[in-house]
Amino acid sequence: MENNLLKNAGPMLEKVNRRYFLRSAGVAATTGAFIMGCTLDDHNIPGEEVVDLGVGDIGILNYAYALEQLEAAFYTQVIMTPYAGMSEEEKTILTDIMYHEIIHRQFFKAALGAAAIKGLTPNFGGIDFSSRGSVLGAAKLFEDTGVQAYNGAGNLIKDVNYLLIAGKIVSVEARHAAAIRDLLNPNSADFAGNDVVDTVNGFDKAIKPGVILPAVQPFVVNKISGSGLPS
């Protein structure tokens, strides 16, 4: 019954997303009135503040923080409103991944301190959380994108300690990607499919922020600027 409700409640779901996200991000101005009056359109008003990731290593860390915010919000929603027929195996995997992404998000928030960007407002309007295919398809996209983004950001980092942190996280994202892909197409080559790992060198993709950011922008209500990032 809950799932039927959600199927026809796109805007309501968005409000739930946003409310949950704002709460978890600890944003101060989350009054009930604000939340209930908050619609997608409100965020598209001209002149709204652009979220600037910043420059140098801080910019790269904020870039990672932005991606982790998106992932954490996504899996939080997945677990809060599970699709019908979610198997025990799927629930365990998706819950574990939610935990990991929350930890990544909170880690970057703490590491960045005052330099951290604000809590972003996700836009998951294109994802049907009642559909297994839609959820796992989105999870696959987020995880592969995460891997490719960290791989592409690695050699833009100046501080070896930050590089190491990125390295410690990216392999966990790759573990996630393979696990999700195996749920979609079990025991096939898709866990590291030829669509993401090239057949000549056996390399995962490495994609720079200038390409990643426009690709993830549709999933975020706030306008994000990476113009100060190294390239």
């Binding site: 935990y99 929350i102 390295g167 990216v170 392999s171 966990v172 573990r175 056996g202 995962d204 490495a206």
Partner: protein
């Protein structure tokens, strides 16, 4: 015994290796430029790539030699496993065939980069049974057990070399691109091991420093680490993760993979190499 010397015994290469890596890197990079946008910006990009390429160091060569040793091991392991009739159940064959394809590609890339083609090529001789200890190719459980250990070792070993490559941006990026593929392999291999052992404690990610052989998961930077960049992960606001039992602690160790040093990695690999 100085474990590092073992690399020189296996991989003889000539003094032109650094230049050859530069050439390979550049050629690969040029091949990657395919979009119109990139083509328009190509002169600037190429100039940047050249400058970066000339910064490549002897440290980078050492890392690639180290990586090639690991890739030789993995490639031969899967090659032998995949061609042993009756070892791998049909349902899992596509997985291990795909892994072998990647390890072979990694070997070829590294050989080309280092110029270790015949007569310079000197691949180690492996014994995956470790003198009869492991039924590597006669028992599927053992095969998957070794697979997950090699992959987790590979992930941690590549990660351990990232810092050394920070002054060699193109090589660093290649290493990261291999590193995440090893992590995908580790994930699926662990998943299959969990299935055939009907285990709920083996997951695609590494919990605490659980796992066998122990040196693969412990070491000077244990997989059970919960302090990252000076931040104790358990001190964070982890709202959304149950604060009961060891749920947060386990999740914190799973969320970050850790490095193995070169020495620790070689100590794991050496029992599988015939002296």
């Amino acid at each position: 015994m100085n474990l590092l010397n073992i690399l020189d015994q296996f991989q003889k290469f000539d003094g032109d290796a650094i230049e050859r890596i530069e050439y390979t890197s550049r050629r690969f990079f040029l091949n990657k430029i395919s979009t119109k946008v990139a083509a328009a910006a190509a002169p600037a990009i190429i100039a940047g790539s050249m400058n970066k390429a000339y910064a490549q160091s002897s440290e980078a060569v050492d890392v690639l030699k180290f990586a090639l040793t690991l890739e030789y091991l993995e490639n031969e392991f899967y090659n032998l496993g995949n061609k042993t009739a009756g070892l791998i159940p049909d349902m899992y064959k596509p997985v291990f065939a795909q892994i072998e394809q990647h390890e072979l590609a990694h070997v070829k890339f590294l050989e080309a980069a280092l110029g270790v083609t015949p007569p310079f090529r000197d691949k180690p001789t492996f014994d995956f049974t470790v003198g009869g200890t492991y039924k590597a190719f006669t028992d599927f459980d053992t095969f998957v057990f070794l697979s997950h250990a090699f992959e987790d070792t590979g992930v941690r070993a590549y990660k351990g070399q990232a810092g050394t490559l920070i002054k060699d941006p193109q090589i660093l990026e290649y290493a990261l691109q291999v590193h995440s593929v090893e992590a995908r392999h580790a994930s699926i291999s662990r998943k299959i091991l969990a299935k055939i052992r009907n285990s709920k404690s083996i997951k695609s990610w590494i919990t605490l420093d659980e796992g066998s052989p122990a040196p693969v998961y412990k070491g000077s930077n244990s997989e059970a680490t919960i302090v990252q960049g000076g931040v104790n992960l358990l001190d964070l606001d982890l709202t959304g993760i149950p604060d009961t039992g060891s749920v947060r602690y386990k999740a914190a160790t799973e969320a970050f993979d850790e490095i193995l040093t070169k020495e620790e990695t070689l100590a794991i690999a050496i029992p599988f190499i015939k002296m």
